[in-house]
């Protein structure tokens, strides 16, 4: 922990076009903000954003005690098959589950890079907590032995790990005994129900542990170069933070943190806990939902680099509408997107003397934005008005699609292109346009709290319902604290019960999320 009495937070968010950084003080006042282009290696852009923010603070920079990073390193590593660790893939499920073997359906090149071997051994649980068969410890030892010298990490997934983690934990101990100090990822700590998707996410997590170490090193280096020595945190895809140690164990959870940060930032900037959030960037817009202060999570699986996974991700509708979206055609046949000029906007848009009509030009023509030379748009007003109307209809449609009921909801517009969001939308009570809307994502990273989540099938046949669910709640709280939340302030922020069909025994799937602010307060007061 840094020196006592210091209290500034540095939030950094890596986006597709820009990397943003902000510095907030203890009362969450914005002291610095920077926007630099995102670089292909990501780390250079992050270093640039940190340096620019530090520059603005001058000598005050040494007051930064905490840095929060939301980054796309993990996604890029998977897409580019770069810096991935070799993983031994162990499934505890025999005699069941052989019908779909581990990593079946993975892109062959990714499997070749990641897998050091795959094995299904006896173990796993039934939905009601009984063992399918006893854990086959000997087979685990044999498999681990076969991995010696070939694997840097081992991913272990058991059938119904969400009902009991006992076999996964025991298998992890056997593997460590055989292989010494390798990284071990256990599926119950990573994904929810759905063996194949959870196993995939667990294998990706194990493969990414090397990348996580590299990012942590690069971040420490960039901070050090600016004379900073804060405690570092990483943003996760549920809009909350994890500390460095946790991030090194669960790097896969950093995937998708960008949209989550925007939604949390929008919440913070407006003081809302329930609203629709539209984040309009240069090329696309993400429409998500803020519920009880957090991004609503997707029920459907998420594909990453061609692999089905099921770890939590914000539930988004993404449309090809952004500030750089190209407007083509004329008369009755005006076409909007999906092409975008992206970061070339300052060269190509009409208002800047370029030759391409964009939605930014349409916003200027409509008087929503003062930018460049409006006179350059003369004669094109009709087409641009038509294009803006079309973009607004697409936004309205996306907004309606993320809603869960007819009830009118407030909407928060953030992101550099948010002027494209009209004031009146069907099913929207009011549109909020907060200050600093264009760095909402970095603010979201800076102000985030820490969470813990449990997703489990609970058999109500044994013991009381309340007791069974209370146990899940306690575990979610414990997970939040383990990830860095202040134990006194952790609250249950989400609780969902879904009864299981086609079973004669009563059972429910219970999902609980608890979250609380960082330990920051007490640490900095001490």
């Amino acid at each position: 922990m840094g020196a006592s009495g210091l209290d500034l937070r540095l939030g950094i968010d890596v986006g597709g076009t820009n990397t943003d950084a902000v510095v907030l003080d203890r009362t969450d006042r914005l002291l610095a903000r920077a926007k630099v282009p995102t670089t292909p290696d990501v780390s250079t852009g992050v270093a640039g954003a940190i340096a620019a923010a530090a520059e603005q603070l001058g000598a005050g920079r040494t007051r930064i005690t905490h840095a929060m990073l939301g980054t796309t390193h993990a996604t890029n590593a998977i897409l580019e098959r770069r810096s991935l660790r070799r993983v031994g893939v162990l499934r505890l499920g025999a005699p069941a589950t052989f019908a779909v073997r581990p990593l079946f359906g993975w892109p062959e090149d990714l499997r070749a890079v990641v897998s050091a071997g795959e094995e299904i051994v006896g173990g796993g649980f039934e939905f009601d907590g009984r063992e399918i068969v006893p854990l086959d410890r000997e087979a685990i030892s044999r498999f681990a032995g076969s991995l010696a010298g070939r694997a840097d990490a081992v991913a272990i997934s058991s059938v119904f790990a969400a009902v009991s983690a006992e076999h996964e934990v025991a298998a992890g101990e056997i593997v460590r005994k055989e292989l010494g100090d390798v990284h071990v990822s256990l599926s119950h700590e990573i994904g929810s129900l759905g063996l194949l998707e959870r196993e995939n996410a667990t294998v990706l997590n194990a493969a990414l542990t090397g990348v996580a170490g590299d990012v942590a090193g690069a971040l420490a280096g960039s901070l050090d170069a600016c004379g900073l020595d804060p405690v570092t945190f990483f943003a996760q895809n549920d809009g909350t933070l994890m500390d460095l140690e946790y991030a090194l164990r669960f790097p896969v959870l950093t995937i998708g943190s960008g949209p989550a940060n925007s939604i949390r930032g929008a919440a913070y900037l407006t003081g809302s806990t329930d609203a629709i959030v539209v984040d309009v960037g240069g090329t696309s817009s993400d429409v998500g939902v803020l519920t009880h202060g957090f991004p609503r999570e997707s029920n459907a699986g998420v594909e990453i680099g061609g692999i089905s996974t099921n770890f939590r991700m914000p539930d988004l509708v993404t449309i090809a509408i952004g500030g750089g979206t190209v407007v083509e055609g004329g008369g009755t046949a005006v076409r909007v997107g999906p092409r975008s000029v992206g970061y070339r906007l300052p060269d190509e848009a009409l208002v800047f003397g370029g030759a391409t009509a964009t939605l930014t030009d349409a916003a200027v023509a409509a008087g929503r934005l003062e930018l460049g030379d409006r006179a350059l748009l003369s004669g094109r007003e009709d087409v641009l008005a038509e294009a803006l109307g079309s973009a607004e209809r697409m936004i309205a449609d996306a907004v309606d699609r993320v809603k869960t009921s007819r009830e009118a909801r407030p909407l928060i517009a953030v992101g550099g292109g948010s002027v494209l969001v009209p004031d009146g939308l069907p099913g929207v009570r009011e549109v909020h346009r907060p200050d600093h809307f264009d760095v909402a994502n970095a603010i979201g990273a800076a102000i985030a709290s820490v969470s813990g989540e449990v997703d489990r099938i609970v058999n109500l046949g044994r013991g009381g319902r309340e007791e069974a669910i209370e146990e899940v709640v306690d575990e979610a709280r414990a997970r939040a604290v383990a990830a860095g939340a202040s134990a006194d302030e952790v609250e249950v922020v989400e609780r969902e019960e879904v009864p299981l069909a086609y079973l004669t025994d009563p059972a429910v799937r219970v999902r609980v999320k608890a979250a609380g602010p960082l330990e920051i307060g007490r640490a900095s007061q001490s």
């Binding site: 019908a99 073997r101 939905f127």
Partner: protein, 356 residues
């Protein structure tokens, strides 16, 4: 025709569409069947007319909660291990496997087992769609006995049931499935090829493939292609504005409301659901009812949306198309007509109902 890597994806799409909103997700069944044909070779699809009359056709499928299956995936040889049991009891050879239920995940499971057993699957099934209960099959309508039911699990346990009727078979097997861990695998209504000719929904495997290929190969609008290949009626195209669901007696019941968009603006369709989509009602007028097949598809992709996945805001098109003719007989309607599900409606064929 044979099932292999080139058409199983299409078949999975077709099975989902034929599921009328039920039958469980086909994603795992697709992976399992792809792995099986990769390991053991393609599975021939045969017509009943091309098999010896006296030999046995063995219907098969999984029984239990689909939620279990996403965790405890099949071993892949469950039904293969009970083929000799069925042959011993019946004293005849099994020459082909058949899906008890083409709709949803059970449509693909026999492919996994047939690949391993080196048997073909017949181009037929026991429903032509999905229904929730063991005796809701065309074989029951045709008077074929469900006995003996042979059930197994991934460990190799085998249980043989002799039930007094279909309802008891359902109760016994479901209780056993819970003991097995929420999911079991079973065969009922084994019959000779000759019997099967008049007791099954025929041509449904190739139909599933045709449906999927039409959707995947659509040049313009996949929903148009789907409607055309099935000669289906479009009940409404719009968005889901309300979903009400509850679980009673182990089954999902509820309704969904779809508000018309564009050409259907101003209309509203209510869908009555009991695991499957059973009745579509527009302003008091019934537009389609069970046993005809009512399926909710994504308006853009034409992929089926299962009843448990329906939610507000989805852009959907509801299509309806005729069930297998066996279901339209008095015995068929007694077993799976609107009154069998508690709706006080006289069955009218979907093609005989005046549109909107």
């Amino acid at each position: 025709m044979q099932l292999d890597g080139s058409n199983l994806r299409a078949m999975a799409i077709g099975c989902s569409i034929l599921g009328a909103g039920g039958g469980g997700d086909t994603a795992i069944g697709l992976l399992a069947s792809l792995q099986a044909v990769e390991a053991f070779g393609p599975v021939p699809v045969v017509d009943l007319d091309d098999l010896p009359d006296e030999a046995l056709v063995m219907p098969c499928g999984g029984i239990g909660a689909p939620m279990i299956w996403i965790e405890k995936i099949d071993r892949g040889d469950e039904i293969v291990r009970i083929i000799p049991v069925v042959e011993r009891i019946r004293g005849r050879p099994v020459v082909a496997l058949m899906s008890a239920e083409i709709g949803g995940s059970n449509g693909l499971s026999p492919v996994v087992w047939a690949a391993r057993a080196g048997l073909p699957v017949v181009d037929a099934d026991g429903m032509g769609r999905a229904f929730p209960e063991v005796p809701q099959v065309t074989m029951e309508v045709a008077g074929i006995s469900a006995n003996p039911a042979v059930m197994t699990d991934e460990r190799g346990n085998v249980v043989i049931f002799e039930g007094v009727d279909g309802a008891w078979m359902e109760r016994m097997e479901r209780a056993m499935a819970v003991e097995f861990g929420g999911q079991g695998y079973s065969s009922e209504y084994q019959m000779t090829v000759e019997e099967a000719k008049g007791a099954t929904a025929r041509g449904t495997v190739t139909l599933a493939i045709r449906i999927g290929e039409a959707v995947l190969g659509a040049v313009h609008d996949p929903v148009d292609a789907l409607v055309e290949v099935l000669d289906a009626r479009t009940l409404i195209a719009g968005k889901v504005v309300d979903v009400e669901r509850r679980i009673t007696g182990g089954f999902v019941r509820g309704s969904a409301t779809i508000e018309g968009l564009d050409a259907d603006a101003g209309r509203e369709l209510r869908l009555e659901i009991q695991n499957e989509n059973l009745v579509g009602i527009d302003d008091g007028a019934v537009l389609a009812m069970v046993p005809d097949i009512i399926t909710v598809v994504d308006t853009q992709t034409a992929q089926a949306i299962h009843t448990e996945r329906l939610r507000y805001g989805q852009r959907v098109t509801i299509i309806a198309f005729p069930c297998d003719p066996i279901w339209r007989t008095p015995a068929g309607l007694a077993l799976a007509g609107p009154r069998a599900f508690g709706y006080d409606l006289d069955y009218v064929r979907v093609e005989d109902i005046d549109g909107r």
